[in-house]
C-alpha cells in the first residue's frame, strides 16, 4: 500500500502541530522529510528522530512497512 507525501505530512502534523514540515518525493515509497520543531530543543539527533518515527506510527516498521525509505532531517528553529 503506497503512501503519499501528503499522508506523511498529515501524520507528522498530528504530533508536531507547530513545526515547519517539508516532505519531498512522489514514488510512494521513498521520501525525504525535514521537520523543524521547538520540541526538539535539548534533544540529541537520535531522540529527535525517534520522535519523528513515533509520529509515523509504524509506517516505517518491518518488512511490511509502507514507507521503505525516509531520509530524515530534524532541526530546532533558529
Amino acid at each position: 500500500m503506497p503512501i503519499t507525501a501528503h499522508e506523511i505530512e498529515s501524520l507528522l502534523r498530528e504530533s508536531f502541530p507547530d513545526a515547519t514540515i517539508n516532505v519531498q518525493g512522489d514514488d510512494g515509497a521513498h521520501y525525504a522529510a525535514e521537520v523543524i520543531d521547538e520540541s526538539f530543543r535539548g534533544k540529541n539527533r537520535v531522540q529527535q528522530q525517534r520522535a519523528v518515527y513515533a509520529a509515523l506510527k509504524g509506517k516505517m516498521d518491518g518488512n511490511n512497512g509502507e514507507l521503505h525509505a525516509l531520509a530524515l532531517t530534524t532541526k530546532v528553529p533558529d
Binding site: R45, V46, Q49, R50, Y53, G58, M60, D61, G62, N63, G65, A69, L70, A71, L72, T73
Partner: protein
C-alpha cells in the same frame, strides 16, 4: 541465547559495529551503502552484520535500539544513529570527534576529503 543477549554481545564485540542490509563489500540498500562507504573511505575497522541474513536479528536490532530502520551504527556498544545522522555527523566533524574520544582509528585526511567534496 535470547536474541536481545545475542545482539548485546554482537554490538560490544567490536568497537564499531554496523547493522546493515547486505555486507560492507556488497551493500544491498542505498542507505546501508552510504554508511558502509563512509566507514570504508575513512579507513575505520568495523564489523558488519547483514540483517537480511537473519529475520530474528532484523527485527531484534530494531527492538534493541528502539529505532525502526537499518542501517544502525554502534560505537563501543552505544547506538549512534542511522544513515541521516551518520551523514550529518560526518559532514559536521562530530563523527571524527566520536571516534577520537572512543579510541577508534580513522584516516583524518580521508574524513577531511569527504567534507571538502560535500562542503
Amino acid at each position: 541465547m535470547a536474541i536481545e543477549d545475542q545482539i548485546k554481545e554482537t554490538v560490544t564485540s567490536s568497537d564499531v559495529v554496523l547493522f546493515m542490509k547486505g555486507t560492507k563489500s556488497m551493500p544491498q540498500c542505498g542507505f546501508s551503502s552510504r554508511v558502509a562507504g563512509v566507514l570504508n573511505f575513512m579507513g575505520v575497522e568495523f564489523s558488519d552484520v547483514n540483517v537480511l541474513a537473519d529475520d530474528a536479528i532484523r527485527q531484534g536490532i530494531k527492538d534493541y535500539s528502539d529505532w525502526p530502520t537499518v542501517p544502525q551504527l554502534y560505537v563501543k556498544g552505544e547506538f549512534v544513529g542511522g544513515c541521516d545522522i551518520i551523514t550529518e555527523m560526518t559532514l559536521s566533524g562530530e563523527l571524527d570527534t566520536l571516534f577520537t574520544e572512543n579510541g577508534v582509528a580513522f584516516d583524518q585526511d580521508a574524513a577531511d576529503k569527504i567534507r571538502e567534496a560535500n562542503g
